[in-house]
């Protein structure tokens, strides 16, 4: 291509604003696309202390006023935030004289903005579906959930192609929205190994003592504290693990389940063994992942499971529930331990196995690290995504909008 391929990413989170997996995903994807010669603009929500406009690693980031007035509920806030997002994005494209080739929207959270920009500038829209409402809620029970589901369906309808991060998610999205097979593309999620290897030789013993005493094994959960992550299953597995091994259970993240979960742990007499850290900064998180004797991903629904990849990159052995994207990432007894979802006994068995058998733990840890190096490298993912963009632009060049 003679002219630089230009993409505008729309995302509700981008570092330093980190709520879930979309933020690191868009960050690394944008960076590796830039390495491939793609010009990337990111339009995202603002964050205290982060500049409104910056160029980081070649990626040009614009942070918009994410609508700070009180909103009746989360979904209404999302739609209101989209008013500001598309307004600012439209002004930006106008300043660029329309020189944007593709709009790329991540999840329903930016559906309105993505669809609006597509029609206003008549450029193709790509959508990455990271997760679905019907999966998160295990069905649709209220109008609130149906509204979000229909917004997701609308986004996939308007998108030229829909990207999913696992084969599981491809079939799930096909089923949820009734999409034709050739509309879906699988591009895996990735992890940046360097972030875990650069300070590999620092002594973490002092750091580890803030969370667990030296004789305690450290069992780590990282994620949003919401139902579908299955943390309640994890907490229920703790008593039988403690019967066989001395361990501290560290739970990192925030969410609406934080209070019920800490009440549950206290009620079970586990307050001294379970630690809720809340949200921690990036460095603390990575150090924790490196200290962990086992990292646990007990999700009930997991479209991909990037936290499992992060643990693999940090050389922490993993125990995951055999569901969704996790089933594809982990090979049982080779790169990790798979357990039955929503089953505390099975989870306890898996964690105990890793804690008690150091040889086994080392075996799965080393295999997992090798697998991450081979399959989940961001440069490779950037190239696959660039190929997808170019294929769409080729089709677009024959359309009436071109």
């Amino acid at each position: 291509m003679t002219q630089e391929l230009t993409v505008m990413m729309l995302t509700w989170e981008f570092p330093p604003r980190i709520i879930g997996g979309i933020s690191p995903h868009v960050y690394h994807l944008s960076k590796s696309l830039t390495k491939n010669g793609v010009k990337v603009y990111v339009v995202t929500c603002d964050f205290p202390g982060a500049p409104q406009h910056e160029i980081a690693d070649g990626v040009e980031v614009f942070r918009i006023d994410s609508y700070k007035n009180p909103s009746p509920n989360f979904a209404t806030w999302v739609y209101l935030m989209n008013v500001n997002m598309q307004k600012e994005a439209a002004a930006l494209v106008n300043r660029l004289d329309g020189r944007v080739d593709i709009f790329h929207a991540h999840d329903w959270l930016v559906a309105n903005a993505g669809i609006g920009l597509k029609h206003v500038f008549r450029k193709p829209l790509m959508a990455t579906i990271h997760s679905t409402e019907i999966g998160r809620r295990n069905g649709l029970h209220f109008d609130y959930e149906r509204m979000i589901h229909e917004t997701e369906a609308w986004l996939t309808y308007e998108a030229w192609k829909v990207i999913c991060c696992s084969n599981y998610m491809v079939s799930h999205v096909r089923w949820a929205f009734g999409l034709p097979e050739d509309k879906l593309i699988m591009v895996p999620n990735g992890v940046n190994i360097q972030e875990y290897t650069e300070n590999e030789n620092t002594d973490l013993r002092q750091f580890r003592r803030k969370f667990a005493s030296p004789e305690e094994k450290l069992v780590l959960f990282v994620g949003r504290l919401v139902y579908e992550k299955g943390i309640h299953v994890f907490v229920n597995a703790i008593p039988s693990i403690l019967g066989k091994a001395n361990a501290k259970f560290v739970i990192v993240g925030n969410g609406y389940m934080k209070e019920p979960l800490s009440n549950l742990a206290r009620g079970m007499g586990l307050a001294h063994k379970v630690m809720f850290t809340g949200f921690v900064d990036d460095k603390t998180l990575k150090n924790l992942q490196r200290c962990a004797d086992v990292s646990v991903v007990p999700s009930l629904f997991e479209p991909f499971g990037i936290v499992a990849l992060e643990a693999m990159a940090a050389k922490s052995p993993i125990v995951v529930s055999d569901t969704g994207g996790l089933s594809e990432i982990v090979e049982h007894d080779v790169t990790g331990v798979k357990v039955y979802p929503e089953n505390p006994d099975s989870l306890s068995w898996g964690i105990t196995k890793v804690l008690l058998d150091e040889k086994y733990a080392a075996w799965i840890r080393n295999n997992a690290y090798k697998k991450v190096l081979e399959n989940y490298d961001w440069d490779k993912i950037g190239r696959q995504t660039t190929d997808a963009y170019e294929a769409v632009l080729k089709e677009y060049s024959r359309s009436i909008w071109a």
Binding site: Y79, A90, V93, H119, D143, E150
Partner: protein, 208 residues
Amino acid sequence: MRVIILSWEFPPRIVGQLANYVKELALQLLKRDVETYVVTYHDFLTGEHEEPKGVKTYRVTNPVRTHIGVLTWVLTLNQEVERAVANIYYEADKQINLIDAHDWHFIQAAVTLKKAFNMPFIYSIESLEEHRSHGANYPFNMAIKSIEWLGLYEAKEVIVKSEWMRDEVIRIYKVPIDKIKVIEPNSKTWMKDILETYQSVAGGTMPK
């Protein structure tokens, strides 16, 4: 002159006074050689109807059927309004002089289109949330007020139908008085004032 009117009600969909006002406005504009498009909502539940002659009417439906309230309903419907206006814009070789947006419902579309195409818009006020909700300030009302504010901030001119409303707009939203035109519907100078306002908004802003 080519004008796009945005209104969430237009016959046969009649919610309040706005529907018939907008219809009459469109017909009067046609008489004065203004090419007039109306983009409005219609769910085709009101049965058969006849379009007012000469008015190019675009009726959109909501792409998201299930909603939790009028606010989310409006916020998604706007995307279809935006799409309809973009289609008119490209079919008219980008030669649209202005948008006349009636009430807060389609301000979202008007603002995005202004930013994208440098297309100015007029915000015509029939009523304000402050009066509709008797001063209630729940997050729901505040959200609608914030959209009204955005419209007043981004509009090139504001048209109100009485001096009382002009004073209320100034009182509630601190809009400069010379941005607001009082144009009483069906008065002797009604259409003359409307056309003058349209001319001054469109003047020198013919799209590139």
